[in-house]
């Protein structure tokens, strides 16, 4: 059985600076997988290559066994690769439901339509509302995103990605910047995501990582340092040295 998402020898350099060095990575279907690493380890570069925002210097990216290395971002989304952003990337002056509906309309292929009013596309609206309700944002549906508190904006970020019905979902620090009071709500949402979606989460918060992930990959200096179950990773001495900051005397 082929991996939901796979990279083969993925490299990226900016001049003399190598930010991704022969990364071989597997994401199994339905996985709950975390990618961790210190600042500057190349996590965001890696995600940007997966989504097509950056093109790799060499190597391959495969989605369900199909080579998507040369495809544009929009094409990868159509094939089931969704993402959220580390810093909110929303449509700020647009209502919450419209934020989600923009994604749903793209997926359903109706976003080209020029004549019938958007509000007559009940299927788009109903699906978007249903998603918003499952994330507990029903009361905020008609408010503009800019007027929401940060924690709720993070949920909208996830809602937009879910509107694409992805088979593989990349979550770039979903709890970043959220006060710990509210981060449990984000964790609840992450736990409730449909099991058939393969999820790769990039996260700094180790509580989130160890609670959510069944597998962990550690990235340092553009290379995979270790991969394993949370227990294996927390027991791994080189990980502790490089990443968790423990030093052997």
């Amino acid at each position: 059985m082929s991996a939901a998402l796979e990279t083969r020898g993925l490299c990226k350099s900016f001049g003399a600076l190598t930010v991704a060095d022969k990364i071989h990575f597997h994401l199994e279907p339905g996985a709950r997988h975390a990618l961790i690493g210190p600042n500057g380890a190349g996590k965001t570069t890696f995600v940007n290559m997966l989504t097509g925002r950056l093109s790799p210097s060499s190597g391959q990216i495969l989605l369900d066994g199909e080579d998507i290395t040369a495809l544009e971002q929009a094409e990868r989304v159509k094939r089931g690769l969704g993402r959220t952003f580390q810093i909110n990337a929303l449509f700020p002056n647009v209502s919450v439901v419209d934020n989600v509906a923009l994604a749903v309309a793209e997926r359903r292929g109706v976003a080209w339509r020029m004549f019938r009013p958007a509000s007559r596309y009940r299927d788009v609206l109903d699906e978007s509302m249903a998603l918003i309700e499952t994330l507990g944002l029903a009361d905020d549906a008609r408010l503009t995103v800019a007027s929401l508190p940060y924690g709720k904006q993070r949920l909208v970020e996830i809602a937009i990605a879910l509107g694409l019905k992805p088979r593989v979902l990349l979550l770039d620090e979903p709890a970043a910047g959220v006060p710990s009071m509210e981060s449990h709500r984000i964790l609840e949402v992450l736990d409730s995501l449909p099991g058939e979606i393969a999820i790769l989460i990039i996260e700094h918060d180790m509580d989130v990582v160890f609670r959510f992930a069944q597998r962990i990959t550690v990235l340092t200096q553009g290379m995979i340092l270790a991969e394993g179950t949370p227990a294996e990773i927390s027991a791994n001495t080189s990980v502790r040295e490089v990443y968790l900051g423990e030093r052997h005397a």
């Binding site: 989504t51 925002r53 952003f85 990337a89 419209d98 019938r116 958007a118």
Partner: protein, 324 residues
């Protein structure tokens, strides 16, 4: 007053939206000596509406929209001079020519963004200007193109010397275009344009072919600008190089910002206020009138980012809060 479109917006036409049309028809009866100015205002409203579609909704900042206006104007003039003076066919020719130019140039320039895009829009206007300037056989060059006749509309309504027919012609064409633009703004396509304006990157990430969508919006906008240009040619029976000038693009931008960007009706209020003020000030202060226009713009940009309609919106919101 906001027309942001989207999936929860009520697309029905509100009573207040009939106001411009009632006012336009009232003008016809009340101020018959101002009809030529009125026609010009209506033409510029259509032109501003075309800009609002890409600037206000798509977020494309351009200083080169006169390229399409001018192309429409010249093609309509040349069409009348060389093919036929039938006005509706002339409008169609001007619209299609400008739309085609919009498509070709859009395919090139929309690959860029920000300042690079702005520079390219300027370059295209300059190119068009030089072509019109040098192709004197076709365009009359610096002397302009005149001496063509425009036949009665659908063979019935002759253009008269008081500009009555021309005015009503402008009203009807603008009405049709307004209705189309309004449909577009409220459609899923309009919503996705707003998405591009709000966050270009995120639209890519939800799988939207952003570039193609912008090219289509740009083409439609260019076609509408060309229609406005053709309308100017037919109602004034003359085309001068000014229609391709950079000044016109700048003036248009000023008018739209003055009225309010991304609200449909900003494109109505802006040109009306700007051109009527210009007409009045030019009579009162023939030497300094541009100073006042500048002063108005400074005030709007500093204190009312939403333009005149933005001020009105804020005022209404304040009244509502007080009455509660």
């Amino acid at each position: 007053m906001n027309h942001t479109g989207g999936y929860i917006a009520d697309p029905r036409i509100r009573p207040i939206e009939w106001l411009p049309w009632v006012a336009a028809l009232l003008c016809y009866f009340v101020a018959p000596t101002y009809l030529p100015l009125g026609s010009y205002v209506l033409t510029m409203i259509l032109f501003a509406l075309s800009l609002d579609l890409i600037l206000g909704y798509g977020g494309i900042v351009t200083l080169g929209h006169s390229a399409y206006f001018g192309t429409g104007a010249y093609v309509a003039g040349i069409f009348a001079a060389r093919v036929t003076g039938e006005p509706l066919l002339g409008l169609l020719a001007g619209t299609l020519a400008a739309g085609l130019l919009g498509l070709i140039t859009g395919l090139i320039i929309l690959r860029t963004r920000g300042l690079a895009l702005l520079m390219l829009t300027l370059a295209i206007t300059s190119l068009c200007f030089e072509v019109a300037n040098k192709a004197t056989n076709w365009t009359g060059g610096a002397d302009g193109l005149g001496g063509f006749t425009v036949q009665p509309i659908i063979g019935l309504f002759k253009f008269d010397m008081f500009g009555k027919t021309a005015y009503l012609y402008c009203v009807v064409i603008l009405f049709a275009c307004w209705w189309l633009v309004r449909r577009l703004v409220y459609s899923p396509f309009g919503a996705s344009l707003t998405g591009v304006r709000e966050n270009n990157q995120r639209m890519h990430a939800v799988g939207a072919p952003v570039y193609h969508r912008l090219v289509i919006a740009y083409t439609i906008s260019a076609a509408l600008a060309g229609l406005a240009g053709a309308l100017l040619t037919q109602t004034t029976q003359f085309v001068g190089l000014k229609v391709l000038g950079f000044e016109l693009s700048g003036e248009l931008m000023v008018m739209l910002i003055l009225g309010g960007v991304g609200r449909i009706y900003g494109a109505f209020v802006g040109p009306l206020v700007y051109l009527v003020a210009q007409d009045y000030l030019a009579k009162q202060f023939p030497e300094y009138w541009y100073f006042f226009i500048g002063a108005i713009l400074v005030v709007v940009v500093m204190f009312a980012r939403g333009g005149i309609l933005g001020i009105l919106d804020a005022g209404i919101a304040r009244l509502r809060r007080k009455s509660r």
